[in-house]
Each structure stands twice: as structure tokens, then as C-alpha cells.
Amino acid sequence: MLPRVLSLGVRRGPLTRRPGTLRGGFSLDWEEKLSEIKKKIQSVLPGTSLHPLYDSSHLPPDHSDVVIVGGGVLGLSVAYWLKKLEKQRGALRVLVVERDLTYSQASSALSLGGIHQQFSLPENIHLSLFSASFLRNINEHLAVVDAPPLDLQFNPLGYLWLASEKDAAAMENNVKVQRQEGAKVCLMSPDQLRNKFPWINTEGVALASYGMEDEGWFDPWCLLQGLRRKVQSMGVLFCQGEVTRESELVKMDNSVEYQPVECALVINAAGAWSAQIAALAGIGKGPPDTLQGTKLPVEPRKRYVYVWHCPQGPGLESPLVADTSGTYFRREGLGSNYLGGRSPTEEEEPDPENLEVDHDFFQDKVWPHLAQRVPAFETLKVQNAWAGYYDYNTFDQNGVVGPHPLVVNMFFATGFSGHGLQQAPGVGRAVAEMILEGRFQTINLDSFLFSRFYLGEKIQEDNII
């Protein structure tokens, strides 16, 4: 507060003479001073925040019923569903706290934007199916009066998972489960693969599964902005700040100002940094091997995405191909550009300190596999690359959803290890139902609760890239 007040006074010394001004006469920036005064008066008027000495309109409110930590696609999805499913309009006051409103390091913005239903767990399949139908009808869900409709740029080209001999049986099982749950997937033999995608080298491929509907990729930034626009129109408050201390109240830091926010529920949707928020709430502070001592096992992992240009490449018909080696690529735009990468193994895990790209990783680890699978990629030229974080769940690489057993007013919606964006609408709805109804109604995510970390029940998902 004090620096702000001082800054208004020390902007110009009393003895500086600006050209064209007389001492004591009108100065050139009278307009600016007037608008400052007006702003100050407005902030003191009844009905606004009760800080008569300084303007606090940029600070979050003193009270909020639900505080969502993290303004990425998962946090915004939870906010959207909370506001949509509340019984009376305006019943819940929701506040979304986002540390970086430019989303420069957020996983949602740096994501590849793929969506597929080819998981081995039924819950994951259902979540993706739900999200696919949400995205299909996105302009009905996220319509805002007088705003232009959203153009998600959904490319429904599907995912193509390739399996070697030893993985073929597992893939067949998975496809059976996926078909049962309603995903439209087909199995292809190497011959059929060569027929359909002549640019693939099917050496080492025993089986492939190809998603035919509701799979593909879209623009995650568009989804993020669409959700943001919609939740703001529904009355959710946004605030830029960082959650630092927590007892019962959530305190936030904005530069050196902080504002305690009193709330009933906190939703941890902080993505790669969820572990810090959980630690603030005291989760994990206790003797090991107890429920109090179980930490939230989500940590940031850096993943690289490379963009290359290859005019002789697969062309318009290429789906997102996930190779047997873990390498993946997809087409980007109409100019023969492709995006792709590979998840590093445990030993070669890069340091998540910053988002610097390691170009040698592409040369050594990604390109050979790409060239082997698609011979046309031998002559590619890398144009661009970026890195993003996975909110990697070190326990079983699946999301954590729902309340914590001991800290009963913290809910999680994090830890999705790379497939958070595609499951965001479904997870948002699940968390909102858990809060408002007390149980999961549309999709049963009981196996994704926090307590599995203590009980040691891993829910392994095979198809993670």
C-alpha cells in the first residue's frame, strides 16, 4: 500500500519545469491526474471494496465460497461446471487464482491439443468421450452473448497406435475394452496399414489401432480462452496472484501486497505445481507410511515438442501416429509441417527447472525413430521447438480427482500426466458433482481419489505418451 501511495507523489519533483507549463498553472498531464482521482473516488464509493485509503480493485475479494488455484483448462473447467450445475443462479461465489495470466508456462497453452479415447482404463475412455462430445458442441456450451463463436479447429484425423509383437495382445485387449465403452476404434494389420497409409514402414509393427471418430487434435488456446470468457460471463472472479500461505484461509501474494481470502473449499488445479499447493495445506506433513504423511506425488516433467517441415511427408491424411518406440508426430496446418516428440525414459529425464529446449534430444533420440517409421522423414528440417510441463503423477500417471481424505476441503483436479487437456471437461464436471452432490454422477471416478496413494492401489494406464 505504502509504495503505491508514495509513487503518486514522487513522480515529479516540485522544482522540475516542464516545457509549456507555468508554476501553479495547468500542467500537461492534468487528464491523467484527473483519471487517477476519479479512479480513487470510484474505489471508495459504497458497494466497492472497503479500503478507503487506497485502491484495492485489483486484489481478490475477502471472501469466496470456492477458490480454484490455477487458471488453466482444468481449473476453468471446474469453475464452468460449478457455475453451470449450481442449483440457483449466483448461489456459489467462485474465485480463480492464476499466477501468470499470460499462460507462458501453463501446460494447457503449450499442449499438443490431442484427444483420443484409446486408453486401457474405462474411466479414461469415458472422460475422453465426454470431452469429445463437449468439444463437438462447444458453441452451445460456451456461448456468450454478443461474442463471436469459438473456432476450435478440431482436426478429426484420429490417433494411430502401433504395437510390436510383444504388445499386440495387450493392444487387442485394450481395443476390446474401448469398443465396449463406446469408442470407435478399429484394429489394423500391417497390410491394411500399408494400404491405408502408404508412407508407413511397417517393419516391427504387428498390430495397429486407429480411432475413427471423436479423435484428433484441436487448438487448446481457443478452448482456454473460450472457457475463460464463459466463466467470466457466469460471474466467476478472476485474480492474478500466487497462493502462498494457508491455514484455514488462503493468502495470496501480488508483488508485496497480500490479501487473505476466506473460503470454504479450495480446488487444486495448479498442474505441474500442484505439489506446492498441497504442501501448503499440510498434505504430506506427517510420519511416512501414514495417511497424513502421504504427499501428492505430482511433479513437473519437461517434455519437448519439435516442429519440422517435410514436403515429401505423409500429407493431409496422416493421423497422430504413436510409434512402438514412444515417438509420436502429427500434421500441423496445411504447409507440410509436422509436430512431434518423444517421452524421455527415466534416465534421460530433463531438468524441469526451466523450459529450455534440448535440440540434441531430437537429433539423437527422436529423429532416428521417425526416420525408421516414416522413410520420408529422413529429409526433414526442424523449424521450431518448445518445451512444456507435464503434471506428472509419479505414482501411476493418472489424474487425481476428488477430495483429500483428511484435509476435507481441498479437492484435486491435477496430475494427468499429459492427457489433462483432453479430459478437462469431464474432470471439471466430476469435481463439480462431487462438490455439489457429494458423489460422482456422470462418470464414476472413485478409483482416481487421493486415497489410492496411501492404499497403494495403482491404476495403470498403458497408453501414455
Partner: protein, 458 residues
């Protein structure tokens, strides 16, 4: 009367000079003893005590005085938790506000002279405003305080002018001599405006349906003691004032009261219906206050002996019930830090004793026989039926909707599946249980002997 006023004034030095750890105990004990003094008024012949020129007691005054005195210890009990983190001088300041309010209220209810009544009526606004704006919970409290202050002030300024005019024409505004006043108010433009001037202040305070905007804001933003005193006593100031002023306005009241009767009938139904759609618990209770007080306005404006009795009983009953509901909502708020009803559901499974208090509070709110709430409503509805048969449609419909929202309040907070996020809240403290009991016991005991509050010989 001095035996009540002087000890209340002396509570201020008692509290400021007591040690920090004895502060709550001292104030609690003092205020309880003062309330026992007021109970002595029950044993006066005719419930009247006219020992002084300035203060007196009357069957109309004594129940309200007893309610006021009884409420101070309850307010002190209720505020201990939310003031916990404040420094000792701040806590003492808060209690001084409450005591100051109490002094003005006791003097208001026992004033003989109408000008003295008016001055103290306005005085009660100041500590209430300070309590709402300084210790309320949210930034909207500034707005709430302004609405409260300016609505009431704007309504009561004409009252001052009218009272001064009457003083100059009648010679004295002593309540006891007004009953032998022979001057009648005939129908004329001046007298109409005089009537309006007298009554508007109290209509705003009650509040009447069209002038009720300040109430939901003030009740919701006020801290618990503020809500309690607002709901229980300050609203009754309006009805008490109306009952004191109407003897000098006859027979004009029969003609002039018509639009206000219609407004209160309509307002009853409207505000009860709003209650059905509230998501915020305190807001629901605030609107239910407006609905109950609309019945009281109706009763006072009809001016029959039965309806005045009904108004009196309703005042006391509603004061206790509303205050109890606010205390219950506050106990929810202190645990969950949210006023939304949907975050505290299914509490009966966790806190059976709390469920008992909720049940009793909601049953009395919906005027279950044989509670005094029902007696008040019954007398009022019967009187209004004989005033005009058509009013039964509104009053009957209102009783139905009142039952609906009271039961809705009960089932949504107590029944149903327990919300996950409230499963580790602490159960009710002894202090809170005492608070609820001290609210409920008078209601239940008065059921056995309602003639104390029946105001039979005003």
C-alpha cells in the same frame, strides 16, 4: 425503570475495567442479572409502573423490555468466537457498542414522552451502523450500512416534524395523556400528510414490503450480534412506535391505512416466495423476517384488540425465533466459512443436538401449534379475516409458503447426504448449546403462559 437503566450504563465501566480473561464472564453475568430485573415487571399489578415522569412500563412495553434485556447476554454469548482474534480493546469496543445500543433500546421502550422516544429511536441507529460497517464480514457491508442508515433516517425525519407539530397543537406528547386526548383527526390533506409523516418512519423500520431493501443487505452483512439485535429488537421498534402513535391518529387510520394493508398482504406472499429461492442461508432468514413483520404491520393497522394482541405476541415470538435462526446460521458459517446452504447438508447425521435446535427453530418459524408464533398468527389472521374476508387468501397462502421454506431450510441443512467437505467440523460447543437453549426456553415456556406477552390492557 432506573433499576434497569443504571446497571446497563454501569456495565460500560465494569467491562472496561475488568481483566481480559474476565471480560466475557463479567458482561455475561451483568446482563443476565439485568434481565432478571426486567422479569420483575411481570409481577407488577396491571403490568404498569408509573413511578417516574420520564420512564414507565406498560403491558405493551414490558414484554419488549424483557426481550431486549434477555437478548444482550445472548448477543455476548454469540460473539465470542468471531472476535477471538481481535485485540482486547477492540473486543471491549464491540461490547461497548452493544451496551450503548442496549441502553438506548431500554430507554426507547420505556420512554413516556414521544420526543424522548424519537431521540432514542434515532440513537439506536448509530451503534448498529458501527457494528455493521466495522465488524461485518464483507466489502458489501459499507453498502449495507449506508442503505440501513439512510432508509431509516429519511423515513424518520418527517416523523420529527410531525411530532413537533403535534406537540405544539396538543400541548404534550406524553403517552399516558394521549389516551385521554379528545381531539380527533378528520380527513383532510394536512391530516393525511401528518398521518403519513408519523407512520412512514415505522413502516421503513418494520419493514414494509416496498421499503424493505435495506433489510436483506443489513442482516446478511452484519456480524452475528448485529443480525440478532436487528432481527429481534430493532424491527420491533417500528411496531412499538406504530402502536404508540396510532392512538392520536384516530379515526384517520381507518381510511389511510388501506394501501399499507394491501402492501403488507402482498409483501407477505412475495417475500415468503423469495425465501423459497434463496441460496444464502442468512438471506433466507432475513426475507422471512420481512414476511413475519408484514403480518405485524397488518395487525397494527387493523387496530382491533385481538389484532393488537396478536401483533404483540408475534413480535416477541418472531424476535426469539429469528434470533435463534441467525445464531444457527452463524454456527454453520463459523465452521464452514461460507453462507451457502449447499455446503452444509445432512448435518443431522453428524450433529444430532444441533439438528434438534434446527428442528425446533424451523418448527417455531413455521408457526407450529401450540407455540406462541401460532397464537400470534392466529389472532392476527382471525382479526384480518373479520376486517375483510378476502385477506384470508393472502394470509393463508403465506402460512403455506412459510411452512414450505422453513421445511426447505431444515431439510437442506439437516437431511440428505452429508457434504464431504464438512465431515471434519467440530460439533457444537457448550456455549453455543447454551445460546440455543436460552433462545428456545422462553419460546417454550411462554407457550404455557402467554398472557404475559398478550398486552391485554394497553
Amino acid at each position: 425503570m432506573l433499576k434497569i437503566i443504571l446497571p446497563t450504563i454501569m456495565m460500560l465501566p465494569t467491562m472496561w475495567l475488568s481483566k481480559t480473561h474476565m471480560m466475557w464472564i463479567n458482561t455475561m453475568t451483568c446482563s443476565l442479572l439485568i434481565s432478571i430485573f426486567t422479569l420483575m415487571m411481570l409481577y407488577l399489578p396491571n403490568n404498569s409502573c408509573n413511578l417516574s415522569l420520564n420512564f414507565f412500563s406498560d403491558p405493551l412495553t414490558s414484554p419488549l423490555l424483557m426481550l431486549t434485556a434477555w437478548l444482550l447476554p445472548l448477543m455476548i454469548l454469540a460473539t465470542q468466537q468471531h472476535l477471538y482474534n481481535n485485540s482486547a480493546p477492540r473486543k471491549k469496543l464491540y461490547i461497548s457498542m452493544l451496551v450503548f445500543l442496549q441502553i438506548s433500546l431500554i430507554m426507547t421502550f420505556s420512554a413516556t414522552e414521544l420526543i424522548l422516544f424519537y431521540i432514542l429511536f434515532e440513537t439506536t441507529l448509530i451503534p448498529t451502523l458501527i457494528i455493521i460497517t466495522r465488524w461485518g464480514y464483507q466489502p458489501e457491508r459499507l453498502n449495507a450500512g449506508s442503505y440501513f442508515l439512510f432508509y431509516t433516517l429519511a423515513g424518520s425525519l418527517p416523523l420529527l416534524i410531525t411530532l413537533l407539530h403535534y406537540f405544539s397543537s396538543l400541548g404534550s406528547l406524553n403517552i399516558l395523556t394521549m389516551t385521554i386526548n379528545t381531539k380527533e383527526m378528520m380527513l383532510s390533506w394536512t391530516n393525511n400528510i401528518m398521518w403519513l409523516g408519523c407512520m412512514m418512519a415505522f413502516m421503513v423500520k418494520m419493514p414494509l414490503y416496498g421499503l424493505h431493501l435495506w433489510l436483506p443487505k443489513a442482516h446478511v452483512e452484519a456480524p452475528i450480534a448485529g443480525s440478532m439485535v436487528l432481527a429481534a429488537i430493532l424491527l420491533k421498534l417500528g411496531s412499538y412506535g406504530m402502536m404508540r402513535v396510532t392512538p392520536m391518529l384516530n379515526p384517520l387510520t381507518e381510511k389511510m391505512s388501506y394501501p399499507f394493508i394491501v402492501l403488507s398482504l402482498w409483501g407477505m406472499v412475495m417475500t415468503s416466495s423469495i425465501c423459497l429461492r434463496q441460496a444464502d442461508l442468512k438471506s433466507l432468514i432475513a426475507y422471512s423476517s420481512v414476511s413475519h413483520m408484514a403480518l405485524v404491520i397488518l395487525a397494527i393497522l387493523i387496530q382491533t384488540p385481538w389484532s393488537l394482541t396478536g401483533a404483540m405476541i408475534l413480535m416477541i415470538a418472531h424476535g426469539l425465533t429469528s434470533s435463534l435462526l441467525f445464531c444457527l446460521a452463524n454456527s454453520n458459517y463459523e465452521r464452514v466459512h461460507s453462507r451457502t446452504m449447499m455446503f452444509t447438508r445432512g448435518l443431522q447425521a453428524l450433529f444430532p443436538l444441533l439438528a434438534l435446535w434446527w428442528l425446533l427453530a424451523n418448527l417455531t418459524n413455521l408457526a407450529l401449534p401450540p407455540t406462541i408464533n401460532l397464537m400470534g398468527e392466529l389472532l392476527t389472521i382471525l382479526a384480518s379475516f373479520s376486517w375483510s374476508n378476502f385477506t384470508i387468501m393472502f394470509t393463508g397462502f403465506n402460512m403455506l409458503i412459510t411452512a414450505l421454506y422453513s421445511l426447505h431450510m431444515f431439510t437442506s441443512t439437516q437431511r440428505g447426504p452429508l457434504t464431504y467437505s464438512t465431515s471434519n467440523v467440530k460439533p457444537l460447543f457448550t456455549r453455543e448449546n447454551t445460546l440455543m437453549l436460552m433462545h428456545m426456553a422462553p419460546i417454550l415456556l411462554l407457550t404455557l403462559n402467554p398472557k404475559t406477552i398478550m398486552c391485554l390492557t394497553p
